[in-house]
Symmetry: C2
Subunit: 405 residues, 2 copies
């Protein structure tokens, strides 16, 4: 397979972009869906923000460096990646906090309906943020398996909240079909794009989605705990209300009035003072992904994952695939089930192949197409085959669970 | 006054700490209560996080670099500055988001009571976050002037929410007396310490406060939009519930279960994935302030502001002081009223004296004692006298309002 990998790499139009990232020597990084690699341009940008904008220009940078516009500016670069207009997206807070804002906003737009529908096994924070509003007495959480979601959409449902690419299996929802089903039931649609954005094209406006959120530190390469983003469709911007009414969401924050009046546009989603260093780092990652283009990224990611599967077959590895086998029906990842998934993951990490484990028995490999090569696929498959064949994952050192798995 | 300033600087035990900060040449920075100066150690720490922990160690840093413990670690360094135990404080999200969590938590602890009492003119986000819960139908906002707060504390009040040091005037509340009054009325007490922490000693547990929040980017020098912190008194930790129930607040985040179960300790205040770069920068600022010590900082800040006032008197400046004239009754700032406050502020900035303006007519000078000298006070007073005397603030260039004032 190394020969085939070399041919594929030679024909890969995205190959030059690998040099735009810090990919550590000796590491095959199949965890870009958890924390994306560092863009090479980021350290200098962060240093400029810290030493120049903060250290030298201090408070003046809110105007002179445009800090005050940074949430909207980063949002506007994310917008075309997700099929949104620039004024419909802002970057701020965390995915979880933005979920709370938009679930609450949807409930306020559907008085008399309290049910927020999702699927069991959705990313926990999605489910937990519904639970937070449920604890407030404002929502009722309803979960239905993905095949039964349409049946569960009745006249009580205010909002359907789904994650486009499943974090564990990589399975994709049909965004247009589900959004249509939600609307037909009189409900609104909120998409969590955390495992999609930057890896595959998303067309929020094309399928008339109402709301979306997503993560900045996965395929957008914004850095650990990077700010998240939020989308509100233009047709809702004027009327939407969210309860985290902090001063940065005010129509005139610097009037310092006692009474809240929401900003007319997407700024109404802002709450407290945005984290500037994190936003600046995120901007670099987002600009780079926008430059490469999500269509090209998605095309390569499908080739990468299919090639990885072929390498496994040739190496005689027979693992239970829990991701859809059709690349058109999954995001940029492959997940396998194995009862020793945790230890296998640790044994691979010891060899420099970093994937990750998801409780209880999932081995998850993400294929960030911006910086991975086909040679990486061949090498990773070989390591996985050796780990399984040798049984080295049974060593005691690979059994002990770390705080973060 | 330059001679007196030189004598005071020579006798200032904190003078050596100025070199631990980047204080730009030609700038007298009287706005550390809006955005604190850059600690000299911060850029290297941030670079290490970006290039080393993120770039080289990638996802492994959640364990190896202790990212997962960073909110608690930073919280534990803040704790002694505010009279708290280390396990009662965490650093996360923004002040506004933390206000929402703790206002909601207080309401849940006082079923049957819906009123959240504060004062008009409190920092807007404090008032707006109450309004957000009011819009949800869960709270009723009541405002009473500070002299009438005790009268307004009746059996409907669930929570008294006040800012210890007023952002505009610098006036201090008697924390012990107000907390006692709230408790006597059966209400809980939440202190916003944004303009106090790092500038003066605060004793939350000494006055039996229930909750507190505070800002990381003012006197803690954590950088623009730094993460904030939140305090929950130990006696409430077991039972307190807050609605922003994100995955990082779960008892077992990496079990990825569908149902939320709050972490037993202060981690239950966490919501989404914390911003690591911002937290790391904040940690440097907090460590430095803790090293200097808040008692020493407060002693110097009182001397600085009193000396500034003397310099103004000697320069013949007669401005209306809106801060308490007794330094024991104010935080680390002096605010003056002038109908041309905005233009005067701009004229001073043009001379390198950076204070700030607060709508509609307040000129605000913060005295961050960690990096200001008595010579700065003498120079700033001279510039202010010259700006007023010359009328240069009347120039057209100083009238135009920027986006951020």
């Amino acid at each position: 397979m190394p020969e085939r990998a070399a041919i594929l790499d030679a024909g890969d139009p995205l190959a030059p972009y690998r040099d735009r990232f810090e990919v550590p020597q000796g590491v095959i990084y199949l965890d870009g869906n958890s924390l994306g690699c560092l863009p090479r341009a980021t350290p200098a940008r962060v240093e400029d923000v810290v030493r120049g904008e903060w250290g030298r220009d201090l408070i003046r940078s809110w105007n002179s460096a445009g800090w005050i516009d940074l949430p909207r500016r980063v949002g506007s670069i994310i917008a075309p990646l997700i099929g949104a207009q620039p004024h419909e997206v802002t970057a701020c807070d965390t995915t979880s906090v933005n979920l709370f804002k938009l679930i609450a906003a949807a409930l306020a737009l559907r008085p008399g309906r309290k049910v927020v529908l999702s699927e069991p096994g959705n990313f926990p924070s999605d489910l937990y943020m519904i639970a937070g509003l449920e604890r407030q007495g404002l929502a009722t959480r309803r979960l239905a398996a993905r095949d039964h979601l349409k049946d569960a959409l009745d006249a009580d449902v205010a909002l359907l909240l789904l994650t486009h690419t499943h974090y564990k299996t990589g399975a994709l929802f049909d965004m247009a079909a589900l959004t249509r089903a939600a609307h037909e039931a009189g409900a609104l649609m909120l998409w969590d794009l955390s495992h999609s954005v930057g890896a595959l094209p998303v067309d929020l406006n094309g399928c008339e989605a109402d709301f979306a959120v997503g993560c900045g530190y996965k395929y957008l390469n914004g850095g650990p705990g990077a700010p998240a983003f939020a989308f509100v469709a233009d047709r809702h911007l004027a009327e939407v209300e969210q309860p985290l009414t902090g001063w940065m969401g005010h129509a005139s924050p610097f009037a310092f009035s006692d009474d809240y009046a929401a900003a007319p546009g997407i700024e109404k989603l802002l709450c407290g003072t945005p984290g500037i260093i994190g936003l600046a780092a995120l901007e670099v990652g987002v600009e780079l992904i926008a430059e490469i283009g999500v269509e090209a990224l998605y095309a390569k990611s499908q080739k990468l994952s299919e090639f990885f599967r072929q390498c496994l077959v040739e190496a005689g590895v027979d693992l239970e695939l829990v991701s859809p086998s059709d690349p058109a029906r999954r995001g940029s990842q492959l997940s396998f089930r194995h009862r020793h998934a945790y230890a296998i993951c640790q044994a691979l990490i010891a060899r420099g192949v970093i994937g990750d484990f998801r409780d209880p028995d999932i081995l998850r490999f993400g294929f960030a197409p911006a910086y991975l090569s086909f040679a990486d696929m061949a090498d990773a498959a070989r390591h996985l085959a050796e780990v399984l064949e040798s049984g080295e994952y049974e060593r005691e050192e690979f059994q002990e669970r770390a705080a973060v798995t």
